[in-house]
Each structure stands twice: as C-alpha cells, then as structure tokens.
C-alpha cells in the first residue's frame, strides 16, 4: 500500500488509487467538476489541479495514481493560481444568470467561483451561444451554461447504456447534446439533471418551482419498486417539489430511476381525503366522521362469521407496519385465516412447501451482482422492473459477465454480452429442464448457454415478474434452483438464486406473513387460509361475505378482473387506502390512509434489507396511518392490538422477525442471505411444460405505472420507456397481424371462450409469432378479463373490427 502525504497528512491507500480518492479519504476537499465517483475518469475540467513535489507542472488529482512517497499540496500558490486560471476559463463563456438558474444556490460552479473566480471579467468578446434541445418530459436544457464536463455523456455510456448523449464539433464550438433530436429513452434520465454540475441540464418538472435553499429536505426510501433506493425528498409547504438521490453504495450508489424520482406528482391526485360510507338512501359514498365510519366497519366485520371475512393487501405502497397490523388484525382480532397479497400470482402450489426468505427473495446482494460472471434472467425485464438492480447487472456485463435472458418476447435490455432466448409461454419449464439434462449429461455441452453455464464460477439466476406470476412459477423456480445446484452456486461463498419480486415492499409482505399459509417471521401455520384466488372465488360464490382491502384493487391488477368485479359486487367491501380506485368506489366503507413519504415507515427491499423511511410531507388532513386504522378497529372488537405507538408496533415486528430490529436496519453489511440455501433443493422437478397451441395472450404490468401512486402520475405517463405501442394497446407480431389482416392502430376483438374484449392493436417486432401481449390494468377494457386462474395463458382468437 503506497503511503503519501497530502497537505502534511500521511495516508496509505490501495495501489492504483488516485490522489483525489486519497484526499477524499483524508477529508481534504479538492474542487472538481468532471470527476464523479461512479463514473469513469475524464480529467477534462482541470479544476482539481494539485502540486506534487518533483513534478514540474500541476497534475490533475482525479486521474493521477498515487505513488510511494508522493508529497501533494492542494493549496499552494501554484495550485491556487492554476485553479483561478481554470475558473476564469470556465466562466468566460458561461452566462452569469445565476438569479434565474435552477441550479443557483446549489451549483458547484457558483460555489467555486466564489472561492476562485475573479470578481470581474476580463473577457470582452462575444459569449458563445449553444443550441438547446428537447430531451423529453424530464429534462430542460440551457446549454449555454454547459461547461463540457461530459458527466452526462459518460453516464449514458456507462451507467444507462443508451449512449444517447455526446459531444459534437470541436474546440470552443464543442456542443454537448443528444445525437438525435428524439427525447432520451433511458429510464435513468432524471439522473442527468442531478449530476450536471451546472444548470445546463435541469429537472423539468422542478423547473422554476422553488429555489434550492427554500426547500426542506427529508431522507426517505423509495417504495415504488423493491430495490428500495435511498432518496431525499425536497418539499416546500407540504408539497414535494423534487426527489434527489441519497448516496448509498450498497443500494442505489448515487442514482435514482425516473419512476422513483418523478412518481411524487401522483401523490396529489385522486386521493381519498375523508372517511366515506355508502348511504342507505341514495346508495352513494358520503363523507362521514371517523367514529361513524369505524363503528360501521367494525359492525360489518362482526356481522359475519370470522371465516366469512377475508383480506387482500397490495404490497406496493404499504409500509411494513401497515402490512403487519393488517395481518395481525385479521388473524388475531377478526379471527380469519383468509388473507393474501399475491393478487398477480397464478401458481400457489408452493404454499404446501415451507418456503423461506431465501426461496422468495434475493440471495445475491446488489453489490455482489456486479461480480457475477454469468447472468441468467428468466422472465425478467430488469431495466424497467427494477432499474437500479439493472445498473448492477450492466456493471457485471461491462466487467465481462455473459448474460442470457429466457423470456416470452424480445425485451428492452441495456446489458452488454446479452443473448436473448425467446421461449413460447408455457414452454419455459421444458426449456429449463432440457438445459438441466444437457448439463447433467456426460460429454460436451452443445448450446451456448450450457457451455457458458459450465464455465461459470459465479452464476446468478434472476426470476422476474413474468416468472413469478407464471402458471408454472414453482416449477420454474425449482428448475432455477436445480441449475444453480448443478453449478455449486447455492450457498457457501456464492449464492446465485434470486427471485426478484419487484413490487415495493414485497419482501416485507412475505416476512410479515401477509399470506394465508404462513405467519409473520416465516412461522408455519397449522391451518392454511384461502389464497388470493380462493378468496375472490369464495366472494363470488358467497362463501366470503366481507372483504377488507388494504390499498389494492383486484379489479385492476388481479389475474382475473372479471372474477374480481363479480366478487366485489357480491360482498361487503371495506377499503383502506390512500388513492381512489374502482375497488374503493365499490366499497361500503372507505377509510382513508396515507402513502409512503407521508408517514414514517419501514420498507424491505428485494435483498431483504429493511430500511426506515422518514415522513416528508403531510397527507390529507383527515387521513390516518393505515396501521392506526386497524388499531382503532380492534378497539371495537374489545381485543385491542397490543400497540398504541409506532415504536411499540415496531418492537413487536422486531420480536417476530429479528431483521426488523433497529440494530439490523440499514446495516452496512447485509446479513448475508447466503447462509441459508433455498430449502427446496432436491425437490422433484415438474415433468414438463404446459401445452397450449394457437394464439396465447400474456398480460404484463405496465412499466412505471403499476402501483396506485404511479398510476396517477402525469409525469410518468409521458414516458415511452422504449415502447412503440401506446399503453393499453395489444401488441402483436407484424406477421400474425398481416395474416389476420390487422393494421397498426386498428380496433380488434379478442375472444376467449365466452369472454371477449375489444382493444387497439399495435404491431410490434419484439413480439414472437402466435403470442399477443397486453398491459395490466390499462385501457378502457381490461385484457385480464380474458384471463382466469385455471386456464394458464388464455388461448384467444382475434378478429379485426
């Protein structure tokens, strides 16, 4: 380890470290613009010049590796003069419009100009003018302010993988911008505004909304997907103005995806603001007091036998406290075992096996992912399901990992070295089993994937949403486990099994037992309740009389929306949630809750890392924290839940699952899930895939619009995310469409048995023949109306209208 002296202080650092990194370790600040710890080194701003003894010229500290015995001065005369010179060069063509610049007050250029800049300009020539660009709904450009640090270029090249930004022209005509005149397509675009050291790339929704110094800042955790990025919510007068990334090397490094950054505008739309009760006079929901609403809800719950009551929760948008209180209330106060959060899941066969967290979440931590040498994605589009996880996967592929994706259509990936393997829906298990046989057989593997798999030392498998909601999900999961066992990558030093349940707080819902067959802390239950499918079927045929919904809308996001509508119209619905939904409109009692950011909460990410998130803004005045609603209801059963404060609730959560204890929260080192293997090793594999000929329908969640809040966001609704078809359209292979005489934008009727739905068709090259794809919960008519739990992927026929 080389030892050097910086400003008289001695430090030893890793060989290959730069002077800048050594200085950061020492706490010595070296001014810089182009240097960014998560990006490659450009060394072009020249602001970080330092003096090194025995070197004739100042050196750039961000790029100069340390060597033994180096003596560095960061504040000598030579250094100060050099910085003043560089500062002047950066300012001569920079407009001095700080008073109208969004970056003003939090601008690196402004700050350093105060320290090193001249107090008057010696530049009397014309200032340069640069073009502005339309970069889409998220970025506002003011390229005159650009100082050509190329952070944005390096970001799109290295992190986002879209290479959409570049520098054209040379010399002082050099212009940073997109190569094309199209809006940026990356799902990480918002980061450009954050990493731009000046006001050239601005956060468009935040443009002219507030000044940085007026804003109050709260440290929260993003709950819109399961990665759980640490973010800082900037708000003014109880309105969120913007969201910035907090630096967390274990999770989001310094980035946020556009969903997490811009979903906040959904918080203020279509909120449930006060308790509502269905009036007996006109059968409409009318505002009532909390006491009336709670009394009525309790009375409805008590009116029927406990086994006639069931609960369905949405994991997205709920804190661990809410989920825990929900199941506690249903199990221990109402006395029912019928509760679930897995509305999208089709395959419940694994409920018979005592799965643990290792089977249900990730075992490779996010930071370990970058060290994988082979990545197998099964039914996973990480770029949009969990964008920050995808950043790690991309890092791994840039480090040389090979990647394979087994999926029902060509997906949008940003991984290098990727081979996409399109497998017909239903044939995945057969594909994975044949791969297993190929690996187990003597002799040399034939297929590209098998050859790579045999050579891999640290392979990872990631099961995405499609694999989780697949009709043969458990068979696919077991095949994945068997593959990893074959590669000896299941426990010990490396555990490559990852089930990426991508919705926010899905891990907490599993941990805290919002499932019918398991209690909190993975405690096994004697008596299994009904799962989501059985609850809705029971409600539709009268066996379930009361349905308690926590933030979820089965008529929008379940597998079978037709069944859900029938169920909800037949039984009494008590709706607890923050946002108006179709399910709330069908309820008898509506009890308004809060969203993340409006209450302190605990969110567990897909690695199993529980994190506490602060309250940033006030919700609607009358809305309550959801767990308090269950606490208040329990009073009316004379069986009060044993916690009156959030702290007491958290203590109880910690008692049933130690991972929720304060000491284990936000631990720098993740308590490695590697310790325990998925328990299902050695279980029998499914013999084969499902049959299914003809045209199959696959309904997928709409990216970035798959929870109650994001669906309300107008900013997110403007993003295309690489798709060519409008949301809600049926995506069909152009050849299939040609055969059926269907054109782009034409209305079509989809028929499956006695059910039919009309929608608009869009031709899509990425869709394979004989499969059509639709979006979950989008468009006027729901494609899920054609789906049912029994049928697997529905076989449909298509008629052009």
């Amino acid at each position: 380890m080389p030892t050097l002296i910086i400003d008289g202080k001695e430090i030893s650092v890793q060989p290959g470290a730069t002077i800048m990194e050594a200085a950061r370790l020492l706490g010595v600040y070296i001014p810089h613009f182009c240097y960014h710890p998560q990006l490659s080194i450009a060394g072009n701003c020249r602001m970080c010049l330092v003096e090194v003894e025995k070197m004739p010229r100042p050196v750039v500290s961000c790029a100069m590796p340390v060597s033994e015995g180096m003596v560095v001065k960061t504040d000598s005369d030579m250094v100060r003069k050099g910085r003043q010179a560089v500062m002047e060069f950066l300012l001569i063509n920079h407009p001095l419009d700080c008073p109208v610049c969004d970056q003003g007050g939090e601008c690196t250029l402004q700050d350093l100009a105060m320290k090193y800049g001249p107090d008057r300009s010696r530049y009397h020539e014309h200032k340069r003018h640069a073009h502005d660009y339309d970069l889409g709904p998220l970025l506002e450009t003011e390229m005159n302010r650009c100082i050509h640090c190329t952070r944005c270029i390096r970001f799109t090249d290295e992190v986002a993988g879209t290479s959409e930004m570049g520098a054209i022209y040379r010399g002082d005509h050099m212009q940073v911008g997109p190569y094309t005149s199209r809006p940026l397509s990356s799902e990480l675009t918002g980061n450009l505004a954050e990493l731009c050291p000046v006001g050239a790339l601005n956060n468009k929704p935040f443009h002219f909304q507030a000044r940085g110094w007026e804003l109050k800042k709260s440290d929260t955790v993003c709950g819109h997907c399961a990665v759980g990025c640490q973010q800082r919510v900037d708000h003014l007068n109880d309105q969120i103005k913007r969201v910035m990334a907090r630096r967390c090397l274990e999770i989001n490094q310094t980035w946020l995806c556009d969903k997490g950054r811009f979903a906040y505008d959904g918080l203020t739309r279509n909120r449930l603001e006060q308790p509502l009760l269905r009036s007996e006079e006109n059968n409409r929901l009318m505002p009532v007091s909390w006491v009336t609403a709670l009394d009525r809800a309790a009375e409805l719950l008590k009116r029927f036998k406990p086994e006639e009551v069931a609960g369905l929760a949405s994991e997205a948008g709920q804190g661990a406290e809410e989920l825990y209180a929900f199941q506690d209330f249903l199990r221990n106060v109402v006395g029912t075992a019928h509760l679930d959060h897995r509305l999208r899941q089709r395959d419940f066969s694994a409920d018979e096996v005592p799965l643990t967290r290792a089977d249900l979440a990730m075992n490779t931590s996010l930071s370990q992912l970058a060290k994988a040498d082979l990545i197998l994605l099964i039914g996973f589009e990480p770029r949009y399901e969990t964008p920050l996880l995808n950043v790690r996967l991309r890092q791994a592929t840039l480090n040389g990992a090979r990647a394979f994706a087994v999926q029902p259509r060509r997906m949008h990936h940003s991984l290098a070295n990727l081979t996409q393997i399109v497998v017909r829906p239903g044939a995945e298990v057969a594909y994975l089993n044949s791969l297993l046989q190929e690996l187990q057989a003597e002799g040399i593997a034939q297929s590209e994937l098998a050859v790579a798999w045999k050579a891999a030392k640290q392979p990872v498998v990631l099961l995405g949403n499609y694999a989780i909601v697949h009709p043969q999900a458990e068979a696919m999961r077991r095949a994945a486990v068997a593959l990893l066992e074959q590669a000896r990558a299941l426990g010990g030093q490396w555990n490559g099994f990852n089930r990426v349940a991508g919705r926010g707080n899905a891990a907490a819902a599993q941990d805290l037992g919002v499932v019918p067959h398991r209690g909190p802390g993975y405690r096994r239950l004697e008596r299994h309740g009904r799962h989501a499918q059985q609850i809705l079927q029971g409600a539709a045929n009268g066996e379930i009389r009361v349905l308690l919904l926590l933030g979820c809308d089965p008529t929008l996001e379940g597998v079978d929306t037709a069944l859900a509508r029938a169920a909800l119209s037949k039984c009494v619905v008590i709706y607890v949630g923050a946002v108006e939904t179709a399910a709330a409109a069908m309820a008898t009692v509506v009890l308004p809750g809060l969203t993340n950011n409006e209450r302190p909460t605990t969110l567990t990410n897909v690695e199993g890392r529980a994190q506490r998130s602060a309250m940033a803004v006030m919700g609607p005045v009358q809305a309550k924290e959801d767990w308090r609603i269950f606490r208040a209801l329990s009073d009316r059963f004379a069986k009060p839940l044993p916690y009156n404060t959030r702290e007491a609730l958290r203590a109880q959560m910690a008692a049933v699952d130690h991972r929720y204890a304060l000491d284990n929260l936000e631990a720098g080192e993740l308590t490695a899930a590697c310790d325990h293997k998925p328990v299902t090793t050695g279980l029998p594999l499914a013999a084969d895939g499902m049959g299914g000929s003809g045209l199959l329908l696959v309904v997928e969640p709409a990216h970035f619009q798959d929870d109650a809040v994001t669906r309300q966001s107008t900013i997110l609704s403007q993003l295309t995310l690489g798709r060519t078809a409008p949301l809600g359209a049926l995506r069909i292979n152009p050849q299939d469409a040609g055969g059926a005489g269907i054109q782009e934008g034409q209305k079509v009727r989809l028929i499956c048995g006695d059910r039919q739905v009309e929608c608009v068709a869009s031709l899509d090259e990425s869709v394979p023949a004989q499969v059509v794809f639709g979006d979950m919960g989008q468009g006027g008519a729901l494609l899920q109306d054609l789906c049912s739990w029994e049928s697997g992927f529905p076989q449909v026929s298509l008629v052009g209208l």
């Binding site: 080194i41 001569i92 530049y123 520098a167 010399g171 002082d172």
Partner: protein, 420 residues
C-alpha cells in the same frame, strides 16, 4: 554531408522495391533479425536518436519501456504531419516508403509487436497510395506477413488515413482516432508504452525516426551518434519555408548554424540576410526567433531550447521584414482555435480567447492591456491541459510578444500595422 532518410530520394523510381533493394534495401532487416530485440534497442539507444516528431524523446528509451508481458503489442507510425510548416515526412513516404517499412519491421521485431499501423493524415492521399503499394510489394516479397524473411517473425502493417485533424498528431489522440473514436487525447498516465492502442503496449514513432532505423542497425549506433552534436545526434530534415530563395526540405546534421542552413542550403533570405525579421525554428508551435538570435543559434535540440524555442518537427519558417508579426500570429491563433479538440477547459476556452484578442488587435480594435491579457491567458493555458496543444497555442503568442512587443503596441496604439 551525410544523408540518411533522404539519401535515395534522387533516384528514379526510388519508391519501388527494386530500386530500394538495388541500393542495399532490407539488408538492415536481415541483420536485425539475427540480433535479439534487446540488442536492437541497445543499438538504437547508443545512437542517441531523439524523436523527430516534435517532442524529441529518445527513441531507444521509448522502446525499452515496452513491458515484456503476454499482451499484444503495437507499433504505430505517426505520419499525421500536421504541424504547420512541416512537410518532411511527406517526401519520405513519397520517395522511400520501403525505408520506412524496413524501419518499422525492425522496430516491431525489437519491441515484439506483431502489428503495425501507419496513421497518415487524410490530405496525403497519394502518399497513402504509395505506402499501400509499397506494403503490397513488401508482403509479396516476404518482408511483411506471418514469416518475415523466412525467420518466423510476424509483422503485419496497415495504412490508416486520418480525417485531417491536427490534434490526431498527438500520440494518444492518434490512438483514439485509430480506434475509431473522436480524436481526443487521453490522460497520461497511463502512457501508451503500457496502455495504448486497444489497451496494449504501444510504441509510437514519427516517420523520420523510424526511417532512420535501418541505417542505425546497418552502421551501428556509434556511427550514428558521431553525426551531429552531443545530445542531438544524427541528421535531421529541416523543412524550410517562407521568405527564402530556395524553400524545401534539407537533410543536414544536427547542430548546423541556422544562418548556414538558410544562406547556404535554402538559397538565402529573400532580399538578403539583412531583410530577415525572424524565424520560427520548429513548426508553428515554437516561439519565434528575432534576427539577432538567428545570427548565432545552431540547429540542435539543446541550443534552440536554450535560446527560448523548440526544435519541434524541424519546420523552419522564415519571415522577412514584409511580415506583420501580429497578423502572422493572429492567423496561427485562429489555427489553434480551430484545431483544439475542445476536451479540456483551458485549451477549449483559452485558444478561442487568444484568437479573438489577436483578431481584434489585428483589426485595429485592440485596447491597452490586451498585451498583458494575452500573456496572462497564454500562461494560464500552459501546463494545465491534457495534451500539448494548449501549450502549442500559447507559446507562439507569448514568444512573439517577447520578441516583437513593439509591433503589438504599435498595432494597438495606431490601429494599423507597423510594417505596411
């Protein structure tokens, strides 16, 4: 006087393999292949030859930096010849391409590089054709390819035409361009000797340097080092342009007095020696000499540096008394502004600023303080940029002000030229 790189250019069809072989071509290669790589490097070190492209770095030392590891190594010949005033390499490629090829095969063998590239500036279209024809001949005759001269040595050579950017003559900018990227110089360290073309150890030498290698091998390093003067051994081609009666390329031993070069070789200054105003001794980026300096200075690396300029690429630009220094430097500044790659702040902003001030003074719109501003901006650029282009833009301005300050002052004061 001994000639090395130009010794055969007077022969008819000197560019063909037949003629080159008839005057002893490829004998040096034959000899080199009997030596070890280290012996060759030692011989080149002994010769004391310094890089002829501009920086004057000892070539043998550069070769010895190539690590002896398993990575693929590359030899690149810098034939970008973009420095204004320089045209020495063009004649080598035009008339004795085989001598360059022979030098490259020897150099490649010495540093264990199996691939060589000649990066030639885009404007040298005919020269690129000549080189390609010579390479084809060399392949056919077994001097290039998998089995050079039947000795089991591999060396492949390709010509790559650049797009005409000056900055691609900077060695790392050249590498980027050769890799197909925008020609922007890289940060150093790492140096090309360790991480260069395609991430492999890379030697980059100027055309003239490599063309000198066969004679060094054939006659020995000691023979070469006896030519010229101490620390500036060998011969050098000076491309004399401007106000002389016989402008052209002259290969002479280093250490020749400038006055002798101009008066005896280049036919004398137009209108006589006393009509001389100044000389830019080493290409556009070297500071200008006044006539007084020109009287005594000798043309070798150290003497020119001592006199406050650089030998550079050996482009001697002669200015007689009809020249307005302000106008000449304004034109040079515009060149550097145009050719700055725009990557690093001091050069991107500084070259533009210098050029605008120079333009303003030239147009008679200069103000008091502009001269000091020019000096300040020039010194602010110097030593802070990624590559030497920033220095190259700053030095001629500062040098011209040092040498001819009164002309600048006159321009500002009177709004017009002192000369005409």
């Amino acid at each position: 006087m001994t000639k090395i790189v130009y010794k055969h250019i007077h022969l008819e069809n000197s560019h063909t393999l037949a003629v080159y072989k008839s005057v002893g071509g490829y004998q040096a290669l034959e000899k080199a292949l009997t030596l070890s790589g280290d012996d060759i490097i030692d011989e080149v070190k002994r010769s004391g030859i310094r890089g002829r492209g501009g920086a004057g770095f000892p070539a043998g030392l550069k070769w010895s930096f190539i690590p002896k590891d398993d990575r693929a190594k590359y030899l690149v010949c810098n034939a970008d010849e973009g420095e204004p005033g320089t045209c020495k390499d063009r004649d080598i490629m035009r008339y004795v391409p085989h001598q360059l090829i022979e030098g490259m095969v020897i150099a490649g063998y010495a540093v264990r590089a199996e691939r060589g590239y000649i990066y030639i500036r885009g404007e040298f279209y005919r020269e690129a054709e000549r080189l390609q024809a010579a390479i084809d001949e060399a392949y056919a005759a077994g001097y290039l390819g998998n089995n050079v001269m039947g000795r089991g040595v591999r060396f492949d050579l390709a010509v790559h035409r650049g797009g005409g950017a000056y900055v691609c003559g900077e060695e790392t900018g050249l590498i980027e361009s050769l890799e197909g990227k925008k020609g922007q110089p890289r940060l150093k360290p790492p140096f090309p000797a360790n991480i260069g073309l395609y991430g492999g150890p890379t030697v980059i030498n100027n055309v003239e340097t490599l063309t000198s290698v066969p004679d060094i091998i054939l006659n020995g390093g000691a023979w070469y080092s006896a030519l010229g003067v101490e620390k500036s051994s060998g011969t050098k081609v000076f491309a004399v342009s401007g106000h002389v009666n016989k402008p052209g390329n002259y290969e002479v031993e280093l250490g020749i007095p400038l006055k002798v070069l101009l008066e005896e070789y280049a036919g004398g200054v137009r209108g006589g020696w006393d009509n001389l105003k100044g000389v830019i001794p080493g290409g556009a980026s070297s500071p200008v000499f006044t006539k007084a300096v020109c009287e005594t200075v000798t043309m070798d690396y150290d003497a020119i540096a001592k006199a406050g300029s650089m030998l550079g690429s050996g482009a001697v630009i002669v200015l007689d008394r009809s020249v307005c220094i302000v106008r000449a430097i304004a034109r040079l500044s515009r060149f550097y502004r145009h050719e700055s790659c725009g990557q690093c702040s001091p050069c991107r902003e500084g070259t533009g600023w210098l050029s605008q001030i120079m333009q303003r003074i030239e147009q008679g719109k200069g103000v008091r303080g502009d001269i000091d501003l020019l000096l300040s901006v020039a010194s602010n650029i110097q030593g802070k940029t990624i590559c030497a282009l920033g220095d190259a833009a700053a030095m001629p301005v500062a040098g011209a002000i040092r040498a001819f300050r009164e002309e600048f002052e006159y321009h500002i004061e009177h709004g017009r030229c002192m000369v005409a």
